[in-house]
Structure formats: structure tokens, C-alpha cells
């Protein structure tokens, strides 16, 4: 097997493992801010996974998809923080 493909597969599985770890923290985080924090990390991980997909399939469209995802991924965090501050903040 080509060593480049092997390293790309390895980095793909590392990213999938870290996404599952983050999902476990999203499931069992004790406070709601922990869950928002895990969601923030999850958006970064999905951007990285899209980039690795683009390297594996040799396709340039995944870079544009990851740019759009990077642009919109901070909006839900801002919306959730705004809601939490209005509801529970002092």
C-alpha cells in the first residue's frame, strides 16, 4: 500500500476516534456549558474531517464545503450563549 494513503487513513481514524470521544463528553457532561463547549470542539473536528475527505478522494470541492462550514459553525454557539445568558444569567 502507498504510504501516503496509509497515513491518510490513519489520520482519518484518529479524527473519527476524537469525534466519538467528544460525543461521549457531549452525552455525559454534567453542566450545560460543558455541552456547549463540546459542541464548539465538534464543529472544529468536522472541519478537519472534511479536509481529510478531500485529501483521500482527491477532490477540491471538500475544501469549499469546509470553508462554508467554518463560516457558519460559530453561529449556533453564539445563539445558545445568548439564550443562556438571557435565561439564567445575572
Amino acid at each position: 500500500m502507498n504510504p501516503t494513503e496509509l497515513i491518510l487513513q490513519l489520520s482519518f481514524w484518529v479524527l473519527v476516534l476524537s469525534i466519538f470521544i467528544t460525543l461521549l463528553h457531549l452525552y455525559q457532561g454534567p453542566m450545560i456549558m460543558d455541552r456547549v463547549n463540546a459542541l464548539n470542539l465538534l464543529s472544529n473536528l468536522v472541519v478537519g474531517l472534511l479536509l481529510v475527505f478531500g485529501f483521500i478522494f482527491q477532490n477540491l470541492i471538500f475544501l469549499e464545503i469546509s470553508l462554508v462550514f467554518c463560516l457558519v459553525s460559530f453561529i449556533p454557539i453564539v445563539a445558545m450563549v445568548h439564550f443562556l445568558l438571557k435565561r439564567y444569567g445575572k
Binding site: L10, L63, L85
Partner: protein
């Protein structure tokens, strides 16, 4: 050869993201977990985008990568600061090993 360099850089970036995901479980407090999720994925994304430049070497991709780094450097501190501010103002306690609290909690009205 240049694609091998890109693949190794891509592996380093994904390992940084794995370190950041493990840090969610290792840190005791929300304010220290923000260090794990706000800082390390930016460097990981930079390494992955360097891999993108190595895989698709063209002038267009370099501008694209610089644009993505600029967007990530704008939004990543924004979300980290917002999460820390909301966690403090909704009354989450600090870890008992913390040594300094700059703000007096009685300052809030």
C-alpha cells in the same frame, strides 16, 4: 514526496485534535476545558491546511487556505470568550485548586 509531507502534516494536525478531545476529560473545570477546546484545534487546522497546500499545489488554494486561517482566527477566540463569559455569569464555580479569581462575584448587580 511532497504529498508524503502533506500526509505527515495532516496526521500531526489530527493528533493535535485528538489531544484536544482527550483534554475534555482530563481537565477538572469548565474554565480549564476551554483551554483545551479553544487553542489546540486552531494549530491542528493550520497543519491540516498546510497539508492541503501540499496536496493541491496551486495559487488559488493558497489564497483559500489563508482565508480559512483568517476566519478561524476570528471565530475561535470569539466562541471561547463567549463560553467562558456565559459560564461565569450563570454562576459555575471555579475548581478548588484555582489560585486566583480576578473578578469579585459581588460586583454583579
Amino acid at each position: 514526496m511532497i504529498s508524503l509531507i502533506g500526509a505527515i502534516s495532516c496526521l500531526l494536525g489530527s493528533l493535535l485534535m485528538l489531544i484536544s478531545a482527550v483534554g475534555l476529560f482530563r481537565f477538572p473545570d469548565i474554565y480549564t476545558r476551554i483551554h483545551a477546546t479553544g487553542i489546540a484545534p486552531s494549530l491542528g487546522l493550520i497543519l491540516l491546511l498546510f497539508g492541503a497546500v501540499c496536496f493541491f499545489p496551486s495559487f488559488w488554494v493558497i489564497g483559500f487556505v489563508l482565508l480559512m486561517i483568517a476566519i478561524n482566527f476570528l471565530t475561535s477566540p470569539l466562541t471561547a470568550h463567549l463560553i467562558a463569559r456565559a459560564a461565569y455569569r450563570t454562576g459555575l464555580d471555579l475548581w478548588e485548586g484555582s489560585v486566583k479569581e480576578e473578578i469579585d462575584p459581588k460586583d454583579f448587580e
